[in-house]
């Protein structure tokens, strides 16, 4: 059996790998042309979805923090409203995903978790947009914004389900988790 320090180190290493994976996916997302700059696919949420079964809650929150700061550093949005939106949206999304996974994991798939997480994120971001940038006009962008969020989160959830079922790396993680 490993000592607790080894376990902590293993989790931190895993957080760094998932964090790097999230940054890589957000770089890919940045390169994909979008009709409007505010529309996002949310690819960087995939590592958080996948991490739900292999990381304890504090480490998932740490991973979310790294994702937010890393994205701010890589995309250079750290001082902007986008960082605030990303911060609030990501925390809301992670919070909802953790709650669903811990409370009703047997009755919900990663697709459902992804969709509800994305909706939580979108709702918080729309609220902030109404509060800070566009006022009542936020209601105008809500339908397309939420529709895109719904569509992309379903695709992302399906990808996560497939990834967790075929990935050899993920299988190794689960085996390592079972050993300790």
């Amino acid at each position: 059996m490993r000592a607790p320090t080894d376990r902590t180190r293993r989790y931190l290493e895993l957080v760094a790998i998932f964090g790097a994976f999230a940054l890589f996916l957000s770089t890919i997302e940045y390169l994909i042309p979008k009709p409007l700059p505010s529309i996002r696919i949310g690819l960087a949420n995939l590592p958080i979805l996948v991490s739900l079964s292999v990381l304890p809650v504090p480490y998932i929150i740490l991973l979310t923090g790294i994702k937010i700061i890393g994205q701010g550093l890589i995309n250079g949005t750290m001082f902007s409203y986008i960082f605030l939106f990303s911060f609030a949206g990501s925390l809301a999304s992670t919070g909802v995903m953790i709650l669903l996974h811990r409370l009703v994991r047997k009755r919900i798939t990663l697709i459902g978790i992804s969709v509800l997480g994305a909706l939580a994120s979108n709702a918080v971001q729309l609220f902030l947009a109404r509060l800070i940038i566009i006022g009542e006009g936020a209601l105008l962008i809500a339908p397309p914004f939420l529709s895109v969020g719904l569509g992309t989160s379903i695709i992302l959830g399906m990808f996560a389900v497939r990834f967790t079922s075929v990935s050899r790396w993920y299988r190794k993680l689960l085996d390592a988790e079972a050993r300790i």
Binding site: R2, A20, P37, G76, S80, I133, G137, W169, L173
Partner: protein, 221 residues
């Protein structure tokens, strides 16, 4: 030597981020649209000089869409009407200021936050380790381009390759104490670097000071 190389050699990431932070109030308190546009253009130019990607369409669309949405909430003097929509001076001004603020802050961040910035403490070390893996992923991703793998297999192979022995999957001896390349990249700032950072701040605070002169009134004037 390119300007980007000069900046990286002469200005440390910490001075860059401090200069960026010190410039924020001068930008946020700027209420003259033309001076705010000048500051935004300065931030965009700086980020281009640093070798950051720049596509003109997204920021323009962002400013236009924010301005357009603000026009639905009429404030003050009517400039003209488009059917039932009254285009007002106040709404146009607010929309432009908000759009410029959003875009300007993005480019201020891009120009002052560098990926080789090392944050202090334990959290900073984890960030450094994350960037180490990020570099490995990018490297492996390029190497696997020629291999005929599905996206899923490619990602899986990549994660298996970058995960060190003793790392996340817990196999073999630990290598997790290896230092991150990001950890050793922090450089000092030369006198010319300090001067440049001071010049950047002087221009921004100078533009804010100009906005208090009668020639540059608050608003679209």
């Amino acid at each position: 030597m390119t300007i980007r190389e000069w900046i990286y050699l002469n200005i440390s990431p910490r001075i860059m981020i401090l200069a960026g932070l010190a410039a924020i109030p001068s930008f946020l308190f700027q209420e003259n649209v033309f001076l705010k546009t000048a500051q935004t253009v300065l931030f965009v130019l700086l980020s281009i000089l640093e070798g950051k990607r720049f596509k003109p369409l997204p920021p323009l669309v962002m400013i236009a869409s924010i301005t357009l949405i603000n026009l639905f909430n009429p404030i003050g003097r009517i400039i003209f009407s488009l059917g039932r929509l009254r285009i007002t001076f106040g709404a146009l001004y607010l929309g432009l200021i908000k759009g410029l603020t959003l875009v300007g802050l993005i480019y201020l961040s891009r120009s002052s936050v560098r990926s080789d910035l090392v944050l202090p403490g334990r959290f900073g070390r984890i960030i450094g380790r994350t960037f180490y893996y990020f570099d490995r992923i990018n490297e492996r991703w390029s190497e696997t381009k020629g291999e005929r793998l599905s996206l899923m297999n490619r990602l899986d192979t990549l994660l298996l390759d970058i995960d060190p022995p003793g790392g996340a999957t817990g196999e073999g001896e630990s290598e997790t104490t290896a230092s991150s390349p990001a950890g050793g990249s922090q450089k000092g700032t030369s006198p010319a670097g300090y001067l440049s950072a001071a010049g950047f701040l002087l221009i921004n605070w100078g533009l804010l000071a100009l906005s208090f002169l009668p020639a540059f009134p608050r608003g679209l004037g």
